[in-house]
Symmetry: none
Subunit: 191 residues, 2 copies
């Protein structure tokens, strides 16, 4: 059975947002309508064409010109980074991050945010965590926005120590000291 216009447009929107790489032709076949109908739908919903969609996805990554480590492997959203120095990322706690029982964030998410920020900070091909020291100072609730601030505190040949402090509304909720291993010892200027 065919969908109504409204239903189709809703589904269309969903389909495109969870796979922006789909063409009008694909969509037409999927919904059993003509390509023109799909185009009218996209216009009404102001959904740009395939190439523009792909481009904007690509631009998102690229705008944060941190080329040393793919920023997309970071848990949480990096909002500022200065390689080998400091960085900030934010992480919004949602339903899937908490214990159902008490709505408290599972520790490994806070660790993941802090650790991947520490990895991102290291301006190196190979950055691995060697050791870590963690303190979970206050439970984080669902809905909280966790701001992690990382700072490189020490460097020698192959080791870099990164200190990460995570806050919810100015309150420290997590503190971690990460000893990172890196393959090269480049201490001079980058680039």
């Amino acid at each position: 059975m065919k969908l109504s216009k409204k239903e189709r447009q809703l589904t269309l929107h969903q389909t495109i947002t969870d796979n922006p790489f789909v063409t009008d032709d694909d969509l037409a076949k999927r919904f059993g309508v003509s390509v023109q109908t799909i185009r009218l739908d996209r216009m009404e919903l102001s959904i740009p064409e395939l190439r523009e969609r792909i481009k904007s996805v690509a631009e998102q990554t690229f705008e944060d010109e941190v080329r040393s480590l793919p920023i997309d492997e970071v848990i949480g959203e990096v909002i500022d980074i200065e390689l080998d120095k400091s960085g900030i990322s934010i992480f919004d706690v949602k339903e899937e991050h908490v214990f159902q029982r008490n709505q408290i964030t599972r520790g490994h998410h806070l660790f993941a945010q802090a650790n991947s920020l520490a990895v991102a900070l290291i301006n190196d091909e190979l950055a691995l965590t060697a050791r870590a020291n963690l303190l979970f100072s206050k439970p984080v609730q669902m809905g909280d926005r966790v701001v992690a601030k990382a700072k490189v505190s020490h460097r020698d040949m192959h080791r870099t120590t990164v200190e990460v402090m995570s806050y919810v509304d100015k309150t420290l909720v997590f503190k971690g000291e990460f000893e990172m291993y890196r393959s090269t010892s480049q201490l001079g200027e980058e680039n």
Copy 2:
């Protein structure tokens, strides 16, 4: 002054890698050569066309976005547990757990396995991690099966210390000491 072919191709490669959004036309103007020359250069250097470049940048982001979601509930499979005493869980490292770049497991997955095993050990409504001390002694590769063995090492009123050792084929890859907080002090049996 014009560049030689070799110089131009080197510069071209650099130009494209740090801005994949540039068209052949732009490049032709930038180097003062024809569009065809740029195309020959791209072929020799096997650099794909603009649209393909953009697409691959977009795909990277997209795959990782989808991938970073399932850091969900059960991390590792608990195969044996004795409450307040000891437990064992296994975790198979798959593609989504490693850095694309070097196929090494991201630290937070090892942490997540160990930490959630520690949580499971605590026989309490409210078990939270208060502090942790971690050592990542050896990189874990994709395809490895990580066996985590946890043991309660110390208890007092509200704190329980759990030691977790994770192995891949008898080799220690991770060691963690977790100081867990619990709400009740129940030392006797129950439920």
